[in-house]
């Protein structure tokens, strides 16, 4: 056996630090909590305010507008309908509200971070291993720090989801900008573009496809994480999955699981469709 005399615990120090942080940063954490919660509620209220059938029609129409595929549009609409049919409509909207807020935050921080990373090699060197770590850590490890600071509920769920979903949009923004051909950068420079103009006129527009792919990935990861976050009180469909697991209710688990998959497919196809539609007209095939 490992000698007990050699054991050393840091947990008490961490507990002490968190206790201190909780007191010292109480006001700040409360403000963040309050802001995020009102954001989540606003999004949720909007989602449930619009009648269910409008959402279903809207999903079909958006996909039709983006891809002109009739069967797929109908399938997407039916998938969304399944959430209601299995009795998870409001749970699904709850889940979506958390996903939307988390993705919004991830995109708002991720794109500027990706831009910075593409411009400064040093930032890339520092951020790359950090992003690697963020992507390889088991997802519920993220639950620990946010749990310590924000307790249980939707706010820590949004924060954990936000951290977990951040890497793809940062990475793909960086990649997209770095992939822009040197020839075009040279053209910009030759005509006297400054840094900002080069970014706005050439680098960013040409990396839109890559950035949109990043947003798509980020959204998918956020959805996966929100389900895990049901363990810290995110609510939504994930909570029903969790209950089904705890009670060994296979049928209920299947229903809830199906709704999660349905949401994932809808979000994936819609963001992809919008991305294709949105791509620069100059590069479109038609």
């Amino acid at each position: 056996m490992f000698p007990e005399s050699m054991e050393y615990h840091i947990s008490s120090h961490i507990d002490a630090f968190i206790a201190w942080l909780n007191v010292a940063g109480e006001a700040q954490f409360a403000a963040i909590s309050k802001g995020l919660l009102s954001m989540i509620l606003t999004v949720y209220n909007l989602l449930v305010f619009i009648p269910w059938w409008i959402w279903i029609v809207l999903v079909a129409l958006i996909y039709w507008y983006c891809r002109r595929k009739l069967v797929s549009s109908i399938i997407l609409a039916l998938l969304l309908m399944s959430a209601g049919i299995f009795g998870y409509w409001s749970a699904a909207m709850e889940t979506l509200a958390v996903v939307i807020v988390a993705v919004l935050l991830a995109v708002l921080l991720g794109i500027p971070l990706g831009i910075l990373m593409s411009q400064k090699d040093k930032v890339e060197v520092v951020l790359t291993p950090l992003l690697d770590a963020m992507q390889t850590l088991p997802s519920f490890v993220y639950l620990i720090p946010v749990l310590m600071l924000f307790g249980l509920g939707k706010v820590p769920a949004v924060l954990a989801t936000f951290i977990y979903a951040l890497p793809p949009v940062v990475r793909l923004t960086n990649l997209g900008i770095r992939q822009v051909s040197d020839n075009l950068v040279e053209v910009g420079e030759a005509f006297g573009a400054n840094r900002w103009q080069l970014m706005k006129e050439i680098l960013l527009p040409l990396s839109v496809p890559s950035i949109l792919a990043g947003i798509n990935q980020t959204t998918m990861m956020a959805l996966a994480m929100v389900i895990v976050c049901s363990m810290i009180g995110a609510g939504g469909v994930g909570y029903d999955v969790l209950i089904a697991i705890n009670r060994l209710e296979v049928g209920k688990g299947f229903e809830a699981g199906f709704v999660v998959v349905a949401l994932a497919i809808i979000i994936d196809r819609l963001t992809q469709g919008i991305a294709q539609r949105w791509q620069n007209p100059g590069m479109a095939k038609e």
């Binding site: 020839n183 040279e186 053209v187 005509f191 006297g192 573009a193 006129e201 040409l206 620069n280």
Partner: protein, 284 residues
């Protein structure tokens, strides 16, 4: 007027690739030996020339002779290591960042071998690109762009995207974009190399026509002696980073400075004889 006859004067220009930290190096023969020992690649080697206002100055050489590097040094798209580039009395090599940006925006315009059109912008937006960077208002820059587009014969294509256009048309857009700048110096880096021979000839004629109209000062880079002879008022032949001969095209053809230039000229003459013979047959 105190304007000198020459718009551009390049003196003892050097550019080395593959070795960092050459600041302060004065390129004595000993320095050069040191650079060559360290496997540095000397792309531009002690180059000096002058371009008169309103003339087409052709830099000719095979690929790898440093001609494109030289053209880029004039804009400092590639930073020269040593030497002086006087433009209208100002030394470009000593310009600060913002001065350089202003210089690029107003004084020079460049046409690229691979067109360098922005794929996400229409023909009109591409032509107006340089003006946009200058901060010209949308109405005004688009009016100017339309005018120039008409000059290069692309009216009706304004709202198309570059990928809808053939190579020749794309290069017309590239030329229109440069002309829209109304810059003092036009730098054309092998603009017609990617085009097939018939279109190339057509584009050369067009440039000659435009040149009569606008009387621009042009630095034209090419690897084709026929093109150099057709377009150039003055030409410099480059080899391995060095200018081996400089003079009027007639001069270069009549009196090649060395065996290298002679080889080019021999080729050119054979072509001339062939086409002369052919036209004799045709007219007979």
């Amino acid at each position: 007027m105190d304007e000198s006859k020459h718009l551009v004067e390049v003196k003892n220009l050097w550019k080395v690739f593959g070795i960092d930290n050459l600041t302060g190096c004065s390129f004595t023969s000993e320095d050069v030996r040191m650079i060559e020992e360290k496997k540095g690649i000397i792309a531009v080697r002690d180059v000096s020339f002058r371009i008169k206002r309103g003339e087409v100055f052709v830099v000719m050489g095979l690929s790898g002779s440093g001609k494109s590097t030289l053209a880029r040094c004039l804009l400092r798209l590639i930073e020269p290591n040593h030497g002086e580039i006087m433009f209208d009395g100002l030394d470009i090599t000593k310009m600060k960042k913002q001065e350089l940006i202003e210089f690029r925006r107003h004084k020079v315009a460049m046409v690229f071998q691979h067109y360098g059109l922005l794929p996400h912008r229409t023909v009109l937006e591409n032509v107006a690109f340089g003006l946009k960077l200058r901060g010209v208002k949308k109405n005004k820059r688009e009016a100017i762009a339309r005018e120039v587009i008409a000059r290069v014969g692309l009216t009706g294509w304004e709202s198309r995207y570059p990928h809808n256009l053939s190579g020749g048309m794309q290069q017309r857009v590239g030329i229109a974009r440069a002309l829209a700048q109304d810059a003092d110096l036009l730098i054309m880096d092998e603009p017609y190399s990617g085009l097939d021979p018939l279109i190339r000839r057509e584009m050369q004629d067009e440039l000659i026509r435009l040149q009569k109209e606008f009387k621009k000062t042009v630095l034209f880079v090419t690897h084709d002696l026929n093109e150099a002879v057709r377009l150039g008022d003055c030409m410099a032949v480059m080899r391995a980073g060095k200018i081996v001969q400089i003079g009027s095209p007639e001069d270069v053809i009549a009196r090649p400075a060395n065996e290298y230039v002679q080889r080019f000229v021999g080729d050119h003459n054979r072509m001339q004889e062939l086409s002369a013979g052919a036209s004799k047959i045709a007219s007979a």
